[in-house]
Symmetry: C2
Subunit: 240 residues, 2 copies
């Protein structure tokens, strides 16, 4: 782990523990340099990271300050779907995964377009749901180019496709392009998700890229609106 990451961890912990309180000024950059025996640019990386995680605000010429955020809302998972409410469901590990379909298909135009495939390309296609204590948490539709992955096994779709890929191919995912929408469930989804026709779903459409620039994964996931939220921190605002 790079040096700056471990400093980030220390400071973030201090904030979560309440050792650094809202509106407290962090030690100055120079002080932190001495304290951790690192150079100025390293501390700069640390501050960038802390700001992107929503811990601090930086005021040029003045100092870096701990944000006044409601307890428990900082340090949580960002840039991903989380299941809301006290529903202590960890979508990451706990839920059972039920595969509805697992085939090789000629994908529709949108998938071809977003994965940058040729007209006559084929992809793996998986549809599946996660289930926790008899309630269905989501429905997912996944597409993987056969060009890249010549062989994907059904068992991997029931656990972690990404893990299986990591073990069997030498590829490293880099970034994901995401689009979020509010949509109506299809008739099929009404049935599978156990929602009613008028219930809204939160949809996330995600294209994954490898570190050489190739799209390698197309994913659409839909969650009942009362279960899922997407949280993020950045410097863009809606125009107001």
């Amino acid at each position: 782990m790079p040096k700056y990451k471990s400093i980030v961890k220390e400071l973030a912990d201090a904030i979560r523990r309440g050792e650094l309180q809202p509106y407290d000024q962090l030690p100055t950059v120079v002080e932190l340099c001495e304290q951790y025996h690192v150079s100025r640019s390293t501390i700069e990386l640390v501050m960038d990271d802390l700001e992107r995680q929503g811990y601090v605000s930086r005021k040029r010429g003045s100092g870096v300050y701990v944000k006044k955020v409601p307890k428990g809302t900082v340090g949580g998972p960002l840039n991903t779907i989380t299941l809301s409410d006290g529903a202590n469901v960890d979508i990451q590990k706990n839920p059972e995964c039920r595969v509805h379909e697992f085939t090789i298909v000629k994908p529709d135009d949108r998938v071809i377009h977003l994965l940058g495939l040729h007209e006559h390309s084929f992809t793996y296609y998986v549809s599946r749901s996660h289930i926790y204590e008899d309630s269905v948490l989501d429905i997912q539709y996944l597409y993987y180019p056969v060009e890249i992955f010549r062989d994907i096994r059904l068992t991997s779709a029931e656990t972690s496709i990404r893990e299986w890929i990591a073990e069997n191919y030498e590829v490293t995912p880099d970034t994901y392009h995401k689009t979020l929408r509010a949509v109506c469930p299809t008739d099929k989804e009404v049935e599978l998700l156990g929602v009613t026709k008028g219930d809204p779903l939160l949809e996330i459409e995600q294209v994954g890229y490898l570190d050489d620039g190739r799209p390698f994964e197309y994913l659409v996931a839909r969650f009942p609106g009362d279960l899922a939220v997407y949280q993020t921190v950045d410097s863009e605002s809606l125009p107001v």
Copy 2:
């Protein structure tokens, strides 16, 4: 403008113009250093920025590569709501803004909590909609602490509250914490938005922070699901 930003702009333009094609390798870091007469760390900042904007993938030990993205989908606005479809509506400038309510209120618990206010605090409260060619684009609910802004004018709510604040107060917004959801419209919203009861809405709940760490704005905006999407790029994926 810092030096690295202008280099970002040049390279991003080259990619958008197609001068650099998908899967092309960018000049190496060393070459870029010579080409732009800058140091290595500066180029590092450039690459960070290009990657966060979704232009390139970086492969350690190999090179930086232009992502294969469908034409027109890169370089667009990120981390904010955009109005989908060919609907060439620019929410930023074109639409008329109609204010429904403009008062000072004792906000509810959630607003108090997220703005970090005392129980007995007051806020400005604005509800308004944007309208373009007879169709209603959104409905917004905004709260500003009276503690921070002693005076907000109605006219500003009809144009740009943020602009008005910038002209009348010495505050600089820093970052925004956002939560996205899919929700049902209330009866009132059905009426105001001209949607039907079962149509899903995309909701964005946003808390804005100043550069000294103070929350200064609470905003909930709701958009008809068929009009609005939220787009972003990052290195987090849904677990798959």
